[in-house]
Amino acid sequence: MLEIDDLEVRFGHVHALRGVTLEAARSEVLVLIGPNGAGKSTVLNSVSGLCEPSSGRVRIEGADLTGHSPREVVRAGVTLVPQGRRLFGSMSVRENLELGAYTHKGERNAQAKTVNKIARWAEFFPEVGQRLSTQSSLLSGGQQQIVAIIRGLMSEPRMLMMDEPSIGLAPIVVKRIGEEIRRLNRESGIGIVMVEQNVEFALTVADRVAILVHGRVVHVAPPAALRDPALLAHYFFGDASAPPPTGGKT
């Protein structure tokens, strides 16, 4: 279980997160949606140690991770798959995956374990598994996204956080990535926390959806409860501080 409790983040005068409280279980896919600048990516960056919260708490399975370095967060079992896939383009797929297993370096049989993990995930995602020696920048966008996901999995996370995995991908590829994310969650028991701009994709993949507006969580509900265009328009284009047109936790 990942717990985010009353998280506040400030960048100078900008109050990016204002008391964000969320919980994500390992059995679910939690997706954060919201308009641009709502603070969705900042939530992931604060949890992963890339930016320091000014107050609040982050816990994984009860262990406090607040303000810890990215290295400590990854070691504790929370890994971020950054926005825009961001592979090491000049390196092969295998080298990218080896870097994902970095935090296990120095452990007993680390090299053998890395080889086993690559083989395991190559089997799980055969499309990429057959291209381990290929330079990663030469892969298609969808394949690159899968490599970025596998690279995140190489650190053996309990929770995998993904920042806009659908960005820049063709609709058919987005659908495929969504299926893979759900399969990953169901079959490996790794919890997924995802940030998405593509609302339709988010509602397809998520078990629960949290809407962020101006650094606050304003609504948390299962996807079925959010298929109301008026409700989404209210949060994305209207006055989010006003009561929503239909029910839901606010």
């Binding site: 992963s48 290295r71 971020l80 961001r86 090491f88 390196m91 870097l99 970095y102 650190s155």
Partner: protein
């Protein structure tokens, strides 16, 4: 299997070729130039490793090279150390200096860091001038002994010392090759490509940057040690930022991402002006022109040219 050991065999073969050079009955001057070129290539290999693999550039490399040379000279002059017993000091002090120079990079990066290393280099030069009782001040340390023995073997003269230097170069290049091909090498290239991404994967960027600087420092220190026992007299003016620019030029000429780039670069840098009979001023102008041409036409360095030519041939075949 063969593809894994082929690069190592390549380095050994190149070393073997260099060891055979004295058989060609070359003049003493050519042997001296060759020795200088090999020493420069070792020092530049340290910079090439740092710049080409981890993406960190320093303009204080000549100062670290100088610290290695001064450690050897001070050891010989004040403590009676010889070629072998001074080695740990030359390498150790340069290693520490390399790591210390990297410390500001934990708080700054890019151009600002490069400017900072330039300033650090200048400060080291001033210290070398001011610590007169140890370093000999502006006049430096002169009339130093040459290398006498190595592991019981007598180092007789210019040719013997050339062979010793080549031996060290082979060892250094083999170690650097092993590091480049290791998981640590992958990690450094990852940091070079995208530091934030590496950090998000849990990589301790600061620590590995420090280690890379320390390693480059140790290599420069070793080269400085060999340089001191080659020229047998040193002064602060030999290790100014001008020498750092020369190392930079050597790395760029050969190709910063190629392990053997510094060898090609230093051979060109040392021999071309001699063969063309250029005065120091004219050779500086010539290298300025060469540098501009290289950056415009072959930014990957001379080592990248065969690969580029092959790619062009393949493209031409495809369109034909």
């Amino acid at each position: 299997m063969l593809s894994r050991i082929a690069p190592y065999l390549g380095v050994i073969a190149l070393g073997g070729f260099a060891l055979l050079l004295p058989q060609a009955q070359l003049s003493g001057q050519v042997m001296s130039l060759a020795t200088g070129a090999v020493i420069y290539s070792i020092a530049a290999a340290g910079l090439g490793f740092l710049w080409g693999q981890s993406g960190q550039l320093t303009l204080a490399h000549s100062s670290v090279f100088g610290i290695g040379a001064y450690a050897a000279a001070v050891g010989a002059k004040h403590f009676g150390l010889d070629f072998v017993t001074a080695f740990p000091w030359s390498i150790g002090l340069s290693l520490v200096a390399g790591a210390l120079i990297a410390l500001p990079s934990l708080r700054t990066s890019g151009h600002y860091f490069v400017i900072l290393t330039f300033a650090v280099g200048e400060v080291i030069t001033v210290i070398e001038m001011r610590l007169e009782s140890i370093t000999g001040g502006v006049n430096g340390i002169t009339a130093l002994p040459g290398a006498q023995t190595l592991f019981g073997l007598r180092i007789g003269g210019r040719t013997d010392y050339y062979l010793v230097v080549v031996g060290f170069a082979v060892v250094v290049f083999l170690i650097l090759l092993a590091l480049i091909r290791s998981r640590w090498g992958i990690l450094l290239r990852g940091m070079r490509e995208n530091e934030d991404l590496s950090r998000s994967l849990g990589v301790n960027v600061a620590l590995h940057r420090l280690i890379a600087f320390a390693l480059a420092g140790a290599v420069a220190g070793l080269a400085g040690h060999l340089y001191m026992y080659f020229v047998k007299s040193i002064a602060p003016e030999s290790f100014t930022s001008h020498l750092s620019i020369i190392f930079l030029l050597v790395v760029l000429l050969g190709g910063k991402t190629f392990l053997l780039g510094p060898i090609i670069g230093s051979v060109v840098y040392v021999f071309v002006p001699e063969f063309l009979g250029l005065s120091p001023v004219r050779s500086q102008i010539a290298f300025g022109v060469i540098l501009v041409i290289m950056i415009l036409l072959a930014p990957g360095g001379l080592m990248s040219l065969p690969g580029r030519a092959m790619a062009r041939l393949r493209a031409r075949k495809k369109t034909a």
